[in-house]
Symmetry: none
Subunit: 177 residues, 4 copies
DNA sequence: GATGAATGAGCTTTCATTCAT
DNA sequence: AATGAATGAAAGCTCATTCAT
């Protein structure tokens, strides 16, 4: 998994399985003992990274707090995770656009984002997005996060400010204030 | 160009040049009479599609109007173009993440988006994003547009509503109201 | 012919016919109006260059002189031609090893070398090579000339000396003195 | 290596890698497991053949003998090797003029020819070629050998005689007698 | 289970040659 | 006669996957 992350981060989705295997310190053939196909590996990696991202972002969520406070907490940890794991982030960016990622994998990820969806649901109550499909709101939030992360990675100097500005934007979208 | 759009939309960036050529009704070799490499073809297609998108969105811009009114005009046409050209839109989504797209191509596209950047600059004046890098605001707007388009393509029934909701969100982000 | 010489000298036998045509300032297709195939062009060029070389070397041959004197005359002009026409020489070196050169072309060249063969015949009379096939003696002389030319082109400083040393060697081979 | 020799001898340097692989009884792709590129294969073959030729020619060299005796020994074995391995000889003739052969390969070959160069150096002492560059003498000897081999292969009947006549010629060139 | 050599389908690119204009 | 766009066969090389050991 870690080897695949590194290989894909540096070489893209076209990274040969041979490279991934060598990076992992195992033989060429061993890779296929654990993954039936390259696509299977990619799917597993996708789910693992996305899940890790969601889990990390949701850890320590103040259970009784206000939605905004909770959302800020999640957002901050989300950004922190991305900043701390540029390779995972880069690999994820590639995986996001791969044709090999199956609907099942997307579904699995959605599950991991369940808690975040709940939070979004609570956050948008009475807001301007209350009637939109929740999946749309989730995707939108995600897109803004990705964009912010990309920008922040490119110019880490303004990380703090930009992260805050972006959060305000998200909140304005969802809650309308 | 059209053939490449179709081929890439249906088979992804990995679409063989032979398929593109056949789709265009010319021979394998003829393709390389007009494009030195496959990468050159992809770049040209990228610039063409992006430019078409920008141009179409900006056409008939009410020159003297309010920023919000102008922005809405652009947004509407942007969505309409995307809805009307699902294949171009799908091809573009693939090209956006291709490693083959050169900095020069991105630059060429930026030029085509100049008018839109201007509009954004005026729109955000005195708003909450007035101090963020303009490129960030542009990228953000773009990301929201892409997300909206993706959703709308998947569920065309709610197109009208969703398009409007999304625009309001964008405006809230930029202008803060 | 001149264009082909330049193209082959710089790009080798693999020089595309398109390059030769452009070098000649004519269109792609025009080349095939005058030469049925690329091989035909190569053959014609081979014969032309070899013939020019032989003719130039034999020009002004002192008719009544001693064989050695005549041979030296030929040798000197041969070297001079090669030094003065490095591109022709380089093209010729390539053509010499081409599979495309037909037996007919080799025959045609042999004819052009008739006078030189005569001279060699007279030169070797009573010498140690009097019983060897004349064609062998001719080929041998040629090989030594080519080697000398190649060396001289690589280090033009010692041209005079080397040319003389090589001639003495040739004469020693043929006449035995 | 043997397969490449056969393929190149019969089809020239343009012999497809697919043909070489099939000749070797392995698959297309396997060839590239052992040779990074076709050029790498050619280089390796060139060095192998040249080295074999040098080694074979130098084997059993009478250590204490006269230069002429030693030279004759080498010459005889050289010719014998060439006669016995017409395919290797033919492949070598092609490789000699290939642009793909690197300077490193030529260097490697030169090393293998070191003993022969030594022998030539001793042979030409006090002779008419004592002041010429040794490399020129070596190249010249080589050229005469190649020419002789070519002729002998074409007319094997006179092999013995021609080989002897050619050796005398070489010796006359080098030692002057 | 682990290995890594072997595989061969598949891809991009080149170029001699043709032929309608 | 001259043109040059069109052609398509052919070539080198890559890589996911298999399988005997």
């Amino acid at each position: 998994m870690a080897a695949a992350t590194r290989a894909i981060a540096s070489q893209g989705l076209g990274a040969p399985t041979a490279v991934i295997a060598k990076e992992a310190g195992v033989s060429n053939g061993s890779l296929f003992v654990y993954f039936d196909t390259k696509a299977a590996l990619l799917n597993e990696l996708y789910v693992a990274l996305k899940t890790e991202m969601a889990t990390t972002s949701l850890v320590g969520l103040p259970s009784g707090g206000e939605p905004r406070e909770q959302m800020l907490h999640v957002w901050t940890q989300w950004m922190r995770w991305a900043m701390a794991s540029p390779e995972k982030r880069r690999a994820l960016a590639q995986l996001l656009v791969s044709d090999d990622i199956t609907a099942a994998s997307h579904q699995a990820v959605n599950t991991a984002f369940g808690a975040m969806a709940d939070l979004l649901e609570r956050s948008r109550a009475n807001g301007p997005m209350q009637d939109a499909p929740l999946s749309f709101v989730l995707t939108l939030t995600n897109a803004i996060a990705e964009t912010t992360i990309d920008t922040v990675i490119r110019e880490p100097a303004d990380a703090e400010t930009l992260t805050r500005v972006a959060f305000d934007a998200v909140w304005r979208i969802i809650a309308g204030i």
